[in-house]
Assembly symmetry: C2
Homo-oligomer: 220 residues x 2
């Protein structure tokens, strides 16, 4: 999502002590399109001042509010394997307004242990209980693909509102629950595709090289 990108940019500006910025300034600095920035922001309110630009602290506040980050979002990680543990200890989440409330697993040898930074591993059977008690809203699924569908169902039943799935499986979620997949293998395959340089076959009627035509944007 682009609003997230803008928030990251605004964070950097704030670090640099810049307190006012124009859409064009943002676009130049971070290689974006100024009209798109303006449109994206204007869709949620009139945050800018014509002739001046955007106030960085104000813009940051608005962005955090739009992204629902003015209150701490609590996260449960289901699957306390290497990936789950690595994510539980990832410092970027904490600093960004997220809190890893717990790791969950069904492996009795893991239950009760803690990750390096102190996140406790709970029995996955206690997921619902803790989701309610701690008001956890987001679940990260880091179990093997075979277990993922069941885990997803469990998460939904526990009352989680959004799921981030790392398992290479196509999961289903009911309308009220937002599901997002982070399929690492697909990312690697995409890169492989571009390296391979396999290009779509040329349409028969296409001209080998089409000289691009300048176009007019005159408003009548």
């Amino acid at each position: 999502m682009r609003l997230s990108v803008y928030l990251r940019c605004v964070d950097l500006l704030e670090t640099d002590g810049i307190c006012r910025v124009s859409s064009e300034g943002l676009a130049r600095r971070f290689d974006l399109n100024s009209a798109q920035i303006r449109k994206d922001l204007a869709a949620f309110g009139e945050f800018g001042v014509r002739g001046v630009g955007y106030q960085v602290p104000e813009l940051k506040r608005h962005l955090r509010s739009i992204l629902g980050l003015d209150e701490t979002r609590r996260v449960a990680i289901v699957g306390a394997g290497h990936l789950g543990q690595a994510l539980a200890d990832y410092r970027g989440f904490r600093s960004g307004g997220f809190e890893i409330s717990g790791l969950f697993d069904n492996d009795r040898s893991k239950i009760g242990t803690r990750s390096r930074t102190g996140v406790t591993v709970y029995d996955v059977a206690r997921l619902k209980e803790l989701v309610i008690q701690r008001e956890i809203q987001i679940g990260m699924i880091t179990v093997p693909a075979s277990a993922a569908p069941d885990v997803a169902r469990l998460c939904v039943e526990a009352g989680l509102r959004a799921l981030l799935n790392f398992a290479p499986a196509r999961l289903q979620a009911p309308p009220g629950v937002r599901l997002k997949n982070v399929d690492l293998k697909i990312n690697l395959e995409t890169l492989s595709f571009y390296i391979a340089g396999s290009s779509p076959r040329r349409r028969r009627e296409e001209w080998p090289q089409t000289p691009s035509q300048p176009r007019s944007h005159r408003r009548t």
Copy 2:
């Protein structure tokens, strides 16, 4: 990329012993659009047989070839922290035609050690040497954001052709090098956004509820 998704679907069909499938069959089973499947596939050749459908093994071979997976793709992971180690041991990569050729770090206490599944940690100073020697083509960047730009430069100099960046930083790569970002925080923020339910403000002239109009597709 969708071709990756199709490959995953075809894998599942093969596991189920299905050896022929129509675009409509694929679409129904995996919740896709049949016309899109046909168009995507047809862009790379005529793999189907009219009136019959697609042969699963043949389609799989074609997809792997298009994705450049008929030869093993070797991967270097720069940054032997928790995330790097977790990715090095991720079994999904190996089974998918990728090989993790090594972890790289500048921490002397890590150099020479091995991950749980036996991936060696090398001095990052040896990146170029090993990239050439082992014909590594893809780099995964799992270092802190502050180190990411330098690491990216190093990867490019070493001759890597594609980079998968996990650091929350906007990196730059020259035209010949493909860069893809996997920003976990952005993913979480996107989920948070949907939970928050912040909706774009309604355009003034919009009608509160627009009854959708059925449309004709008659070709004249």
